[in-house]
Subunit: 308 residues, 6 copies
């Protein structure tokens, strides 16, 4: 790329000043040629329990102002490595889950047409299909998928609707954007509704790393999966509820016993070097978290994912 | 009615004990012959700003446990005057505003078939049309309407949808359940989107008592309206955002400068003696209110309304 | 008195510094000759709904640090007018309501023996009887009583106990410390448990100024009562739940429709010049109030009462 | 048992709808023949520091609505395995710790007379003795005891009272309901009041697994204890303050350095297969926890314990 | 002006979407020819009690997204009447109160050079002097001043510093930017530090309308002041702590007994038609307010002030 | 020392009663001969992001009331081992970072002149230099330093100021109070501003144990450092932001991925037996933490450090 990312120097301009863009990156309402675009999708009409993720992008923008650009462990400066912009928020279609996906896909595609990798920041998990579609279509192939979540997200229909936050992995596979044989769901745990919860996914070839598997066999399972996908283009979808509710209270459908921050950081770092082509961070509902540690964590993890 | 309402005696059984029903009234999952049924409608897919009203009925049940049965000002005991039950929650249709209204109407109608007056506790304002329909159909006539709200709720369509929380008054009039000539909206205030905000309503004959009118001419405007409706059957719909946000922080679309509790109580008491046939209390979003004073107020106002 | 009250000068020592005593007054663990002693009674085993008032004195100490000493309206400096100390907390007897009163009475009496007027800061309303007893015994006569409250506090027994927070006025009258003919309860409101709520008090000659009376007849009722008590020694007991819950969310048994701060200040100022001999401020439960405005208000009202 | 447990299907009826019973299990005000009864004991007059556990049962009911019935790790459906009901709340005796225990014992015994196993949900830890008594008497033998807690709960008397939340283990042993030689307290940690804290228990034969022991020797200590108790009937009492305060902020007497959720789940799973006959979950004080993660965790742990 | 203000249509684009600028007005990092520029001054090193106002501008931007453009009472559309932009945040100098004022003055002057009226959004009250200086210098004359506040802000020095948040009115007068004979401070109230609190101001000719004056003589005092200033250029400085703490909990130095929203709106509306040339809104500290009603109110009042 | 520390017996006097001193230790406004003095430094004008640490000492005093005196793991009673007092708060100089350090140094020196070891409780990290200076000067030698922190605190100047909370380690070394060759910073992690973050420290000989180092090599690195410093006098400075934000939400500059309580306790216990001569606990900002778990943790860690 021909430019690097300009960020106000925090030792001159306090991090609490200025209009909030993601990580204080430059705003770019129009698609342009960059390495990555981060954009919001303020939509949570796909939730099934506690709503509020529509305010996730606003809150992550705010908390990300405090995230600095240099990765001490990788010894890399994000500003030097990539050109990145904040693309603003995608248009949304309240009350209409399918139309919302179309608008999102269109928005994402416009950036992809500029060769930008697209990082969608939700919003609830229903939004992911829009970014999957745009990416897979643009690349002309199915994507490998790394899916962090407490839930499988392979419900067929919820209250008669096919595109809720309970189904993105199923729709992604069924519509042909994800390659289930190169997909893994990490952090799955119970209690669940029934004994058949994992059946559909396993039938498709999806790999499940339940939280108990993760705690028993350490990071080896992740390393094996990394090897399996090799240089394939990867979509990473991160549902913040994969975390233990204590580490991410601001989410709609919390599940006890999830990842700690130390665990999730070590898990993500296994994937250093994969061919990441698009990503999303979803299900941050800031109104449920009085300390905003969920948004701060989400911002931190977006930073970690960009550094992969 | 042949029975009076049994409530556990709080001087024997603490108000913080037991499963939470509205005002500790008896639960009645099946429709039966009573004076009033209170029921919840846990639905907030009709909101346009901050969601969370789906948890309103749960929270109002909880806070209402502390409301005692004797009205010191009217010198009446609610238990003696009416047979009342908690009918549980109406079935809802997440993601589908129209179907949700049909389910609600059906639920309300089943109680109406038992001659019960129906008090719906939301949920967002989109739910009101269900109770309006059931009541008007059962009575075979248009209803007078007393509407407390910061907003006119006469938007035609919001993001292409006709049945959101911005439209119940318009739909109620257009579908023929409300008589606009005998309807009043109290507490309306700005800022609003455009100069035409009140036009549609005024064209129909609806009366608007803006908050400035209320503060200037005291309660006379309300007394005049009461006289106009006489003995007509009345639907009372109470959107908690008619209150100043300080008195009701737990609501999705707050508007500065609304009613205080002293004002709203004196306003409601003007209507003592009207022919109330159905009512609702909507837009309580408890997750936005760390002290739950909104739900406590809503419970108190339901008590005041029942005593009318 | 031979000394005036020393307070750290806030323009030199910030109000947020130092160990928290009431209003930054000097600590005095031992009884001594002063005009007023303020002390805490951290006890809330007398509550019937939401507990937490045991932390009231701690929180009022904290918030009172910000209250300055000069009364702009009366044009008086509290430091110049009185010698005042913080006497620490009275010993308490958790689990035993009667023993707790005895300990409180003994503590209060020790100060009274030094001619100090005693201001007890609760704690729940059950504690008041201790200070009433000590004061009345020391003065050898019944006290007039000004009682701000949402509740009558004349319940005979609650769950078989005679000394809970629902009974201090009844016990004070029955035990002979208060003169019911010179007592008034201000701010009473419903809903209540039964039609007989006010009967016992009225039979004794107690005056009730319900909130509706207060709003209708302004301050004249208070002025009339002030005239009636003349120069009699007065006990003022202030239950913070006389306020509207919005103005005092941190209390255990909130009642909608109470005083605003403007109303309560104008009500208190009517009593300027009465012969105040002892007082209490009770039912502040700070854990129920995330902004601590209740404790700040309570501290402010203690200041107003001292200036009477 | 002749019936299985009916729960509303959450894929049809949202988990946020309806009157809140534990886990959405059927309500059963009267004792009946079931495998397990869950009931509340809304009582916290036994606390010594921060109160509020009287609201624990209400909050756990609310949060448990989101807990699904199928245990992904054990591959068991709670609905299929047991008939379970919510028995409502036991009667309580505010202000009187001993009478409260009698009422609780009586309530628990009535269910035990129907062969129901009894799971009491507090409330503070003082309530446990009621369920211990009922269970031990009905079975006619001393119970083994698994006790999760930060504290030993073997204080003889607190402020002259023998039945506070600091003494249930001591009273259980002394009164003959628990067999100290088959009892273990897990998660004990300091700081404590004195060097003699563990002496009484050790003299009785009680085993202590301090948090440092747990972290050093992993789960082996638990496995050894499980072996020791074999098929003996077991009472499990779970004080939520065994958790680190970050994982369970909503409790009255928090102690730094406790269990994480991952640790506690792995600890509980060691006991799969024991002969559990009664249990309790205590010390959840929801007012101290703005995110309600404590109640969600408590509900989850009740689910894990039922699945033992 | 040659353009009107473009705002995303909220009936098409939800108010919760997009990067947060004040009222969703266009961002303009560079000074340009407009009627009004709104900008932030994220600085709170001038506070004397509770800090946090540095986050005021961020929070007001966020809450202002919900404020609509049409003033229902004045029947005016802000978009039609003025060209307005969000100028971003002024540079600040943490740790250095005087340098911070210079930076602010310079920033404000740059906009004034484009004939833009300047509305500074704080930050604490120390920032006001920067905008006063820039405005008065550009206009070449002293400004009349309308000052809403609980405090006089005429302290000479606080802990040896002349430019803290306790002194802006004094500095403004002493440095010659404000005309004390045409200045009024509204909402002043006690308790204060000493009897001399109002002396300096009165000596200069400043008018004080204490809260008791306001409540007694209604709006007549304000009307008289309006008449006095006639067509003089006016600086309006609004310290949110003029409000009662219940209406504006998010502020550093709260004072009991202040304005209600109804009172403040009626007070502001008296000034309709004055020659407003610059303004500020200060002392919003959002971290102290869990419901963000303070920021919402502040945003609403900025809207009311712009409509003057 | 000639006396041991008297603490009110909590089994007689509840821990929630009385004026709050650190750990309920005796207050001693004047310097006197004791083993340790704990005192507050309520100052946070050195912060660069979120303020509020000026209230840290007040909140730690409050939460420490619940910390008991006997260390169950070390089997030691703090009261028996040391004479300890609460020295109140050091004077502070708001707005002036350098003067504030001088006042602090003077206060600390006065206690040191009585042979008291000094434990400063902040306040932000800028305050540490005051205690370092006083201690090093009194002992006449450079101090070894154990520094727990997420940040290196070796920034030269921040917004032109040399004595902010970003520089205490650098100033301590440059001014000659700390021996960099015997100093270690533990818990350092990114993201940081630039690649040179650790350069200055390493050039001086400072050791860095980043969080990744800590997790990989366990406690061996700490043991090696302990060996290196042997019997040298040690200054321990504890910035609470070394913790993961979930364990210490109440801090101004949180960094994801820090210590858990279990980790930090095991880390501190490595240092049992070092020659600790002074210490501080800084950056607790209680207003950012609705549950006050940060202050409780800080109090607990002060207890652990005193027991070293």
């Amino acid at each position: 790329m021909s430019f690097k990312t300009e960020i106000p120097d925090a030792r001159q301009f306090p991090r609490y000043s200025g209009v909030c863009s993601f990580f204080r990156f430059p705003l770019s309402p129009q698609p342009r040629k960059v390495d990555w675009v981060l954009y919001g999708v303020p939509f949570d009409f796909g939730t099934s329990y506690r709503p509020g993720a529509r305010f996730g992008c606003r809150s992550i923008r705010e908390q990300s102002a405090y995230i600095k650009p240099y990765h001490l462990f990788y010894k890399e400066d994000l500003r030097e490595r990539f050109s990145i912009v904040d693309g603003g928020d995608a248009p949304v279609a309240p009350y209409d889950l399918e139309k919302n996906l179309s608008l999102h896909e269109e928005f994402s595609s416009a950036w992809r047409a500029q060769d930008a990798k697209t990082f969608a920041i939700g919003g609830d998990h229903s939004i992911s299909v829009g970014n999957m579609r745009a990416t897979s279509k643009a690349l002309g192939k199915k994507l490998a998928c790394i899916h962090f979540d407490a839930h499988t997200d392979t419900v067929d229909r919820l209250w008669d609707n096919a595109y809720t936050h309970a189904s993105p992995i199923r729709r992604g596979v069924e519509e042909g954007w994800l390659d289930p044989k190169k997909s893994v769901s990490i952090g799955i745990r119970g209690p669940v509704n029934s004994a058949t919860e994992l059946d559909w996914g396993r039938d498709q070839g999806l790999e499940y790393i339940c939280i108990e598997d993760f705690r028993e066999k350490g990071l080896d399972l992740l390393r094996a999966f990394k090897k399996k996908i090799g240089n394939d283009p990867v979509y990473l979808t991160f549902d913040i509820d994969c975390m233990d509710p204590v580490f991410a209270p601001g989410t709609g459908t919390p599940a006890i016993g999830g990842f700690t921050t130390a665990e999730i950081i070590s898990a993500l770092r296994v994937f250093k070097g994969i061919q990441l082509v698009a990503a999303d961070m979803v299900e941050v509902a800031p109104g449920l978290d009085p300390t905003q540690v969920t948004s701060l964590l989400a911002a931190h993890l977006v930073f970690e994912i960009l550094c992969l």
